[in-house]
């Protein structure tokens, strides 16, 4: 991989293009997941503290990994801003992934509220990474609101269904001058690879790993797939012909008269 090929988010440079989730699996697996994933960014959630659980997730995340708290649980921009401020007070940096949902069946993001929260938090100096439904106009609004990246969903959260919104993510990649990070619904390494071949800047995955048979091995498979997809994108994919065929062998020197 080209060493100059960095993912840049709010002025911070990253070599890894795999953003790792930390939900729905044992704290004891986090370190192995980070290492196998080669991840430099890990997402977290903010919840009411529980005095019965003395172990903190922070004790399991290797030094140097950037924490990306999300605003899950927020139903409005106002609630997301509140959670983001609390996350910053927890003392782990200025990154925030905005996640605002009113719907608990499909967990789809509220794009309008997401734009509002992005605007407020960007002004407060956060590196704002909004999770959104892939819509070009919303993405443009997020750019104007000061987002550091745009995170369109591939399919519903936790579904492992892959790139259901592929064509619309491609529009964002082609039109938006910010890193497009495919978030939610990526279930297999091949789907992560495809997103990267399309020109996505990074892929975020959580459930695909948490529900896999062997989490660290799957984390490694995702890393390899994301790197392969990135290399393919940088190389430039070969063309597709819609009809007929194109020989790979010379069309001269056949062994016949």
């Amino acid at each position: 991989m080209n060493n100059d090929d960095k993912l840049i988010l709010g002025g911070h440079e990253f070599d890894s293009r795999f953003i790792l989730g930390s939900g729905k699996y044992s704290l004891k697996l986090i370190e192995a997941a980070v290492q196998h994933a080669g991840a430099q960014i890990i997402t977290l959630a903010v919840r009411r503290a529980n005095t019965k659980e003395q172990e903190s997730i922070l004790d399991h995340i290797p030094q140097g990994v950037t924490l990306l708290p999300n605003t899950s649980g927020a139903r409005t921009a106002e609630e997301a801003v509140r959670i983001a401020r609390l996350a910053r007070e927890l003392g782990c940096g200025d990154f925030v992934k905005i996640e605002i949902m009113k719907d608990s069946k499909y967990l789809l993001p509220d794009n309008a509220e997401t734009v509002k929260a992005t605007e407020t938090l960007a002004k407060e100096g956060f590196v704002v990474m909004p999770y959104m439904y892939p819509d070009l106009y919303t993405a443009r609004d997020l750019v104007n609101a000061g987002a550091a990246a745009v995170m369109p969903l591939a399919s519903p959260i936790g579904s492992n269904k892959g790139l259901a919104t592929k064509d619309f993510i491609q529009i964002l990649i082609d039109e938006i001058d910010l890193p497009i990070i495919v978030d939610a619904g990526i279930g297999r390494p091949s789907q992560a690879c495809e997103a990267m071949e399309m020109g996505a800047a990074a892929v975020m995955a959580n459930t695909a790993l948490a529900t896999a048979g062997d989490l660290p091995v799957m984390a490694k498979a995702f890393r390899q797939a994301i790197e392969a997809g990135r290399s393919a994108y940088l190389a430039g994919l070969g063309r597709v012909i819609t009809r007929g065929a194109s020989a790979s062998d010379p069309l001269t020197g056949f062994l016949r008269d």
């Binding site: 699996y25 009411r48 503290a49 005095t51 999300n70 899950s72 609390l86 007070e89 927890l90 936790g158």
Partner: protein, 64 residues
């Protein structure tokens, strides 16, 4: 009574720091919001819960 994380407690008169340590919270791992405003860590020792206050004590957990 003081409402902390949605539950009524007898914290009135205690400082935030006294309450957190008596309740078993690790001060380094939590953030506190008092009546809708973030309370900086440096204010825990000097801020006394009053009757009718409402506070949230939060920490990081695993999430996507």
């Amino acid at each position: 009574m003081v409402k902390i994380n949605g539950e009524l407690t007898e914290a009135a008169g205690k400082t935030v720091e006294e309450y957190l340590s008596a309740a078993g919270y690790d001060k380094k791992r939590v953030a506190v919001e008092l009546n809708g405003e973030i309370l900086p860590k440096c204010a825990y020792a000097d801020t006394i819960f009053k009757d009718g206050d409402s506070a949230e004590v939060v920490s990081f957990v695993g999430g996507g």
